[in-house]
Amino acid sequence: MSPPKGLLPVLNGAEEAGPGHSRRAFLQMALGGAAVAALGACGVEDLLRKHLHELSKEELQALLARLEKKYSAQYGKKVSVAANAALPGVEFGYGLDLSRCIGCRRCVYACVRENNTSRKNPQIQWIRVLEMDKEHGVDLQHANPYYEAELVPRPGHFYMPVQCQQCRNPPCVKVCPVKATWKEPDGIVVIDYDWCIGCRCCTAACPYGARKFNWAEPDLSAEEMNPVTHYLGNRPRPRGVVEKCTFCIQRSRVGRYPACVEICPVGARKFGDLRDPQSEIRRVMETKRVFVFKEDLATEPQFYYFYAT
């Protein structure tokens, strides 16, 4: 019953085409003709393309070029889409000083501006700042992300910003049925928005509420669109896919601090290479009281909370 070899494309080195491959190939053939006619030049290659990890260098370059062209036309300015890989020998770590954070939410909006998240309907923010009572400590029963105040910090409260914890043992990656999300060598958990099917299993699996779903077409104006993008990071997302913090992959992979680090007015946010003993994050880990959020879940975050005082 198996199809004769040579007729259907098989993966390099694969002895035989599994059922998945033959089905994809069948769909490619059956839909290909109709789709080409229906969709014209845009999107066919993207609909029928292989997983990012299976693309050759040339195919990846072509994909990026197509996206740059599409976004540039869409937003009326020159948009770049990079796909640089993890820097060799680097493992990112992030530190957040709970004794300093004042809950001003500057980080939230710096992130929104940098990462092209949907502004109003739907509103998507990758960082959520929780206001907690000092008398209860870190206790989600008494956490309020919707606090409003003339001035912060409010007496008797402290603030705990939460974003993707870039777990070493990420439940979101485990549950993805199509491998649209994975952990990169530098520790960043990424999503291929073109591979995501929008099932939201990952959103449910994440114990930190870090993953956000585009329930509607993202609301991003041409003026506010940040044109320096990364394929796995801040490029514009379509409706119906999941997104989250990537440590500003478009910045951190070229050596820059994430946007939330640079905006913080109290210097509560630290970022660097965990394998570099001189890095700020290593100094934090060696000299301060450090904890990870929901340690009991064994997600092993690369995001550390600490108290400098």
């Binding site: 640089n84 309907n121 680090v261 301060k288």
Partner: protein, 191 residues
């Protein structure tokens, strides 16, 4: 003939500039070159203290106030008292104000510099040495990047801030801020 002179000069300049641009590397450019992009470990290693890498912001003087020698020439009365000038500082001074006054940090003999407890002069651009006399724990943390803020490259050149770029030296406690708007509640979003 005449037009070739400037052009060859330009070419020479370009040649000279190329290695310089490569040396500043990823800091200067947004576009990454994956191979050349490896973290500048060599620069950072060698156990050099963070202080060597400092490119601090300028001290935040009030408009027109510096150099102080515009008004103060030579030493003045060293007795603690209310001044007729510098009202803005005196009215807000809140830095152990019960025990301290101007000349505990500002040098009487030359107002364009500060002084340490032992009398050594310290320029305003190195005021952290003065702050560090009392706040040694913060100073140690700041030197390695744990206290305070840095912007730029996590693996290369970064801008550091002096203590006084964030803390008003005459009233160092952080003032409360107006927070940015709260997120929309799910029920408030349009369907």
């Amino acid at each position: 003939m005449r037009s070739r002179g400037p052009r060859s000069l330009l070419a020479l300049l370009a040649l000279l500039a190329a290695p310089a641009a490569a040396a500043t590397g990823p800091a200067a450019k947004g576009a990454p070159a994956p191979a050349a992009d490896a973290p500048a470990k060599a620069e950072k290693a060698g156990g050099a203290p963070a202080e060597d890498l400092i490119q601090a912001e300028k001290p935040p003087f009030s408009e027109g106030i510096f150099p102080c020698s515009q008004c103060h020439q030579g030493p003045g009365d060293s007795k603690r008292r209310e001044l007729a000038f510098h009202d803005d500082v005196q009215s807000t001074f809140d830095h152990d104000s019960e025990h301290r006054w101007c000349l505990d940090c500002h040098m009487n003999a030359s107002r364009d510099v500060l002084h340490l407890a032992n009398g050594d002069a310290v320029p305003f651009t190195e005021s952290y040495r003065l702050c560090g006399q009392c706040h040694g724990d913060k100073y140690r943390d700041w030197r390695v990047g744990v206290h305070g803020k840095r912007v730029g490259m996590w693996n290369g050149q970064k801008t550091y801030y002096l203590c006084v770029n964030c803390h008003n030296p005459h009233s160092p406690r952080f003032k409360p801020l107006k927070p940015e708007p709260r997120p929309t509640r799910p029920e408030e979003m349009k369907r």
